[in-house]
Symmetry: D2
């Protein structure tokens, strides 16, 4: 008995749930959990089906392809551990949280390597027996720096690249190389405080809440599809530094929750949005 997840992303049509679940039934696959959603705008259908049984992937997918409308995308993925490469700069709280959750098994993930543009977090990474690569950006063009970073990433063949407070803007080439596979944590409740120093911006504006946003990275800075967001209440007594300190717990929680959703194949992307089946 195996467990796999069927991910269906197709134009909406009548009877889709019946058709798909029928095929599961015919293949004697038990549905453990099923979630579906049809978009408000474009009439796109998304379904996530957790299945249990003995799989013949080939005939199962053939049956699905016969049943689904044109323009459909379907994947059958095994439940299980995914592989990450994590990019960092100097702040430890997000990396530390992923390291600890991976260590304890709270996140079912294999951290293949950590890459930093400073070596600040090499020691922490080393404690967990994970390779750390320092690729300084000093004296390098953005392109030349990214080329080195990509060469390291690619040797690990990760499922996802996680920007755990990686404080550099990526080129479109970098983004394109890992399309929908780069997850960033931004330290504001987007779309507020796009860009640099969001806590200073929040302090200057005098807000009563600060936040964090995990999103897929696209070419538009801080404009990618949002996976998870949360906020923390602050007040007039918080300096910008206090906000940054208080915000860290939010950042790491939001990034970890977003990662858990992505790793568990709960997230679909359409246009600039996500469907997240919780």
């Amino acid at each position: 008995m195996e467990r796999k997840i069927l991910l269906t992303d197709c134009p909406d049509a009548k009877g889709l749930i019946a058709k798909i679940t029928n095929i599961c039934y015919k293949h004697q696959l038990n549905i453990i959990k099923n979630d579906e959603f049809v978009t408000h705008e474009q009439g796109r259908f998304f379904m996530r089906t957790v299945l249990e049984g003995r799989f013949n992937d080939e005939t199962f997918l053939e049956d699905l392809d016969d049943a689904l409308p044109e323009g459909s995308d379907r994947r059958l993925v095994p439940v299980g551990r995914k592989r990450l490469v994590i990019l960092v700069t100097k702040e430890s709280h997000c990396l530390g949280d992923i390291l600890m959750k991976s260590y304890s098994g709270a996140l079912d993930v294999d951290i293949a390597a950590v890459v930093g543009n400073y070596d600040t977090l090499a020691e922490l990474t080393g404690k967990f027996g994970i390779p750390f690569h320092t690729v300084s950006h000093e004296g390098l063009s953005r392109e030349a720096h990214e080329q080195q970073v990509r060469a390291i990433i690619d040797q690990y063949h990760p499922d996802y690249v996680v920007l755990a407070k990686y404080m550099r803007v990526l080129t479109p080439e970098f983004v394109a190389a890992y399309r929908r596979r780069i997850i960033n944590i931004h330290h504001s409740f987007l779309p507020a405080f796009i860009g640099a120093r969001p806590y200073q911006q929040a302090f200057d504006r005098g807000v009563k809440i600060i936040g964090a946003t995990a999103h897929f990275v696209t070419d538009d800075l801080d404009e990618g599809p949002i996976i998870e967001q949360d906020v923390i209440h602050v007040n007039h007594a918080f300096s910008a530094e206090d906000m940054a300190m208080a915000g860290r717990d939010g950042e790491r929680s939001v990034l970890s929750r977003a990662l858990a959703h992505v790793l568990d194949e709960r997230v679909f992307v359409y246009g600039n949005k996500t469907v997240v089946f919780k």
Copy 2:
């Protein structure tokens, strides 16, 4: 084109989703939204299916009955306004919230009448043109008082009886007369602070959160199936009265949200628990 909700509550079995959605498809009913859940313990299957199309209720339900295992319970209910009778004592915040939400259309509900054991809220109820019945409990046995209350309730044939801060304990006879149709708001995060004066209990214990719980009423005081809960943060500076004041916003929100779920047929009861499809 009509919209109805199919509610299926049956022993778990292979292929249930396929069977049910097939019947929907055969009857040319479009599935607008589908949620299902199988309990962890007893292997019970719950499904809520929002359907759109032209319904032949009789043949549709016959087909379902042929397909579902023995011991199944299924209902096909039209989407639409439900009828309430609300029981109150003296506090206005929960009643006021339901009156206002009914007035604005935020809750799709017909408040048939309000019954109070004091006449404190008669004026407020009257503002909205809704009948108010005062049934004083003074000088009456619990049974005699309830008999009068029930006589009033029954003349309105409500779908649900809402206890909006009704500060009296009900007899098993009363509860049995409206089985799974009485919704109460308790002013604590149950199971903490069961019984009388929960805010005073909370103050005495020195808690940092207070809460509210909406639940179906059963024979065991404050032990019925929980529909919705929420909390509010407090601190040492709150007196018991401050907690009560702060708690009111939570009470009315939790009760309103619970009502919205129930009225929208999102709630199944099994044993002493609920399944709430949000």
Copy 3:
């Protein structure tokens, strides 16, 4: 025995708390509650002191003026009911909440009148015996319309003007006429989604939280000092309309909480920020 609140807003200096509390002690005024804050940037000192005793306002304030540095602002205000004029358009949830809280005593406030640019909410206002003035903006210049609105407001001499979903932009003249006395509820977590149709903007961006912000109105639209903010979690299944519906509970709560702070003299404004002593 009376209760009054001393509000001190002055340049920071050594010994301010000692000096002020000494004067209170000398006047045999008991300090019920004291809060103070010094700004991070400009070295401004804010203190709110709740006092109980027999007051000789004149000599007490003279003593304070002798002790406080130049450029100080101090006010001694009696605890008690404030007077509001509320401006509305068509949506009832914020007005309804203030009406209900005023009715129940949860907000200690005298709603002198409600002014609408439509008559939609006249009936609701009338239920509570409060005058409603319809001032249609149709066929009028912004200035001419505001002149009529101001004439009505001014005949009631309100302490504060509350924009309870008043969907019109105010001119600088209007804002200046009630400086730091106009409170608005904006239906987003500012500074995200400034301007029109924030829920549609939120839907288009695919955010996972929506929010509400209560702020003092200044000349810059949606840029005034923030008093209170909160958020509500949403997901991909929410349409823009669903967000608007879900957001209403947040809007009214945030506005009511902001009002409670302001009415209780807990809010200082400095620059574009607030100090809120909770």
Copy 4:
């Protein structure tokens, strides 16, 4: 220039704030932050005053002792790093969070040692270069086991003993040895689900929120003064194990926040409650 915190805990009396702040002023100590509270019940006065300047502790405290009423307790403590010994069993999330926050400086704390009744967390502790002592309880009476644990604790002279998911009940002797210095994290929103297996209890009851409570340990199990609490929303789809998993993030956050308050001298205990100046 030094920074110290004055903690005053005394019977309420007129003019206390004036008297204390005058003495500060006389000693040319600048008040950076001041918080005070008078209990609702017993008329006890608590004040926390963050001071900056050149301290003559002896004369300063003498002046205070002359001014304060009989039965007063006052302490002048330097701002700075505190020393912890952490007790654990097998779960890593709370220990891991404290280790990581200590490593990054988010908690200003010196973890002197970790003691476990199993060796499960020895490896994790070792990564951070901190001594781990395994004291198996097997084959030992409770008293004999505690004697060994206490011997280890005492050799490190900790300011506080933290029970980071230490799954053993303590004897009154142990509790007395570290009065008001033992901080525990309980995995429920106390007073709900006192005792063993709170997540299973929560599952059985069908609650919609789960929680965590950090409290000082007293002789009465799970009845000590509460420092911090928070909750996490769950639903019918959560098994008891899912609740435990989801609850971990809450547990570690609540414990870390409680620790931060305690280490920063923000917490007073009176009777079975706390005053926490945030």
